[in-house]
Symmetry: C3
Subunit: 312 residues, 3 copies
């Protein structure tokens, strides 16, 4: 891979390789050769983030890489050129990899096209969020060991969700059946997937992936009764009981407890919400190690091979 | 120890062991085995801090641990649940230890009770600040090599001070005689220690521990003449002259120079204010290494033992 | 060197040694002995900075040092004493070197005079910015392999520029001919260098060093037509064409594209703007390693010597 920007760009084979590499990371089956001179990764988050940034930071250090924590003032980064100049600066002062989040769609992709180092999209506007998608895929694969034929519902504010978009692309590529479920004004007619009612979703799907209601992305803050939303469109205790025995619950977090999902379901037996976070670190390790390997910046090898090379 | 939350929880023996371990750290008599895979410590400061956070950050790195610097936006962390979700997230993505500061009393304790990793209270509201207390104890012990029978005065805004609370508990446990000195409206009637006038304090006590006036904790900012406060309740040059020959001055810092203490006394011969800061790093190393050891996460050993193990 | 505060303090020989050391760092001809116990460098930026701070952070890690990222709240650091207390605190908790930026002139120098560890001035008000100057010198030396007799123009808001000041001192010391070019109200009559018109500058000078228009330093924001400024005082495409064949363009960045310089010239063939950033990391490595060596804190040695010491 050259960059990791969109789940539209990656083939079924590539996704499967990334899922496999993530599991290898988890099991310690692959190890990075920790570099003798520091290899820097710049985390450029032009939008507030704690979870994703922290996850990348940990993943970087687990790979023996040095995170650079760039904290832009929102005021100085309005224009596309400024993002470019910032990225180019980080490249000039020694970053080997850029992780970029930006509030505008496509900005990350534009910047990446002009860089001489690999770039990871850590979320662009309502565009894509491919590493979140990868960790969702890994969590699904852990459960079912396959994607083909699985019924996956993506539930909530589809229109404003980069997570929905990336997952819909990737899951289709992998042969899963993707459904959306959303209140009418949050449906996205540019994406060609069927919409189901939440009550149908819970009875038919293997995976119920809830989306966070992103108040910050709505031009006008829709005033809605939170309880009413939960009852009409969210995952209530009553609905959870109607889910298929093996079905699981996903949510990219942070959760609005009592809005998308009933408070007491966040850590219920079907919930994989905290598991997703754990998987996220390994998924990001897989993506970064893959990019650095493909660019010849930093190599890894099989732990088992290493052992074989030890003197006997 | 399971967590390190309150000086009320720790026995005399445990405090003595922590003081001893702090001195071992200082003298390089104990060393951590630097872990081969990174061990992460999340510093969750839900209240502004530079000094304590920096002290923990250094202590972590001296132990070979990796600090994770979490910067919450104050706006998003009003509710107890959010703190819990944040802490749980950090646990899920790989933190082995949490250091938490929070503006509300008891929140840290509530969160700790639900975690599967050790938690250190780095200050909860007007509750407690046990690592600050430990460093104060170490500084006192360095001077007097005992606690029993020592007269220690805690002077200032007792009511709003978590430092006062933690120290009063710990010093009583250790057999020291604790006095408070405070203007009437800052006295805390829930704590059963005698109040002395500042003029009596300076002539009778071995340790004069000044508290910082925490303007940010007063619901209504009491407008007071700073010089007047110093003259009536603070440590003036004149009062310092009446202190016992061996008596020392402590202050948790940052100092409001000219308010709690005369500007020119901050670095006077009796002052241990900067020494306290130096000790703070070692005290935090002691607490963290103790917790990680007790949880079996990370071990240390005697430097002397290590030498004995070297081939001869 | 004791500290690195001003280009006025350093002799021609010392500058030449620093330039040489920077090139050694670049070529890997010098290496630090990575310390076995962590050596901390505190980066105290009392003024927003991303570029310089990031550059120091990378340089520190390349030298095997541990950066401490101090983030002052602007509100709490108005008074000189507070800066002193902060610096003294960092010293007390274990920093071996301080890198300080401050919005007021001379504050860094005042603090340095009271510290027991080396201090680097990373920019004080409109005073000096000696590490920026060193990286500019290195970039010039890379091009011309000499300073003597070179004609260097410093163009823009001279009056408010610490970069202009440090470079004017250093280049004079090195025997270069320094010219300023500025609109009348931004001339600085306290500095004794001739002013040239921008049209004369481009035709006669070997180095055209543009300054950033620092809106934040102007008491009243001069409302000026940006295009008009570029046409009258900036580097247009037309002027670039009249530059001498070998002449180069420098700019300390961030660039106000289309104001000091035409957008399309930022990455033109003569531009060394991103090269300057790359050089900045090595220049800062040179300064820090020099100071730590001179204070006996941390030593380095020739890579070639090390090889000679290997068993054969």
């Amino acid at each position: 891979m050259k960059h990791f920007l969109s789940m539209k760009d990656v083939s079924e084979y590539e996704i499967q390789q990334l899922v496999k590499r993530t599991e290898d990371m988890m099991l310690g089956r692959k190890e990075m050769v920790h570099p003798t001179t520091p290899v820097f990764v710049a985390n450029l988050f032009f939008e507030p983030s704690t979870r994703t940034k922290m996850s990348f930071t940990i993943a970087e250090q687990r790979l023996g890489l040095k995170p650079l924590d760039f904290q832009p003032e929102v005021s100085s980064v309005q224009k596309g050129e400024t993002v470019y100049d910032t990225a180019k600066t980080l490249e000039a002062i020694g970053a080997s990899l850029l992780v970029i989040r930006h509030p505008e769609d496509h900005v990350v992709q534009q910047v990446a096209s002009k860089m001489s180092i690999p770039v990871i999209n850590a979320g662009d506007g309502t565009g894509e969020h491919p590493t979140q998608s990868l960790l969702d895929l890994v969590t699904i694969y852990q459960e079912f060991r396959r994607f083909h034929g699985l019924k996956v519902a993506i539930v909530g504010d589809v229109k404003h969700s980069r997570v929905a978009r990336s997952n819909a692309y990737a899951l289709s590529t992998l042969g899963a059946k993707v459904y959306f479920s959303s209140k009418p004004e949050w449906q996205d007619q540019t994406l060609d997937f069927p919409y189901l009612d939440i009550d149908e979703v819970v009875e038919t799907c293997d995976v119920v992936m809830l989306l966070r209601i992103q108040h910050e992305r709505h031009d006008q803050r829709q005033s809605f009764e939170q309880t009413e939303y939960l009852l009409n469109y969210g995952l209530t205790v009553e609905r959870e009981k109607r889910m298929k025995p093996h079905a699981i619950i996903l949510h990219p977090a942070p959760v609005n407890r009592g809005v998308e999902i009933d408070d007491c379901l966040v850590e219920c037996e079907r919930s994989r919400i905290f598991k997703q976070m754990t998987n996220g670190v390994y998924a990001r390790m897989a993506v970064m190690s893959n990019l650095l390997e493909d660019w010849g910046i930093h190599n890894e090898y099989q732990a088992s091979e290493r052992e074989a090379l030890q003197p006997q």
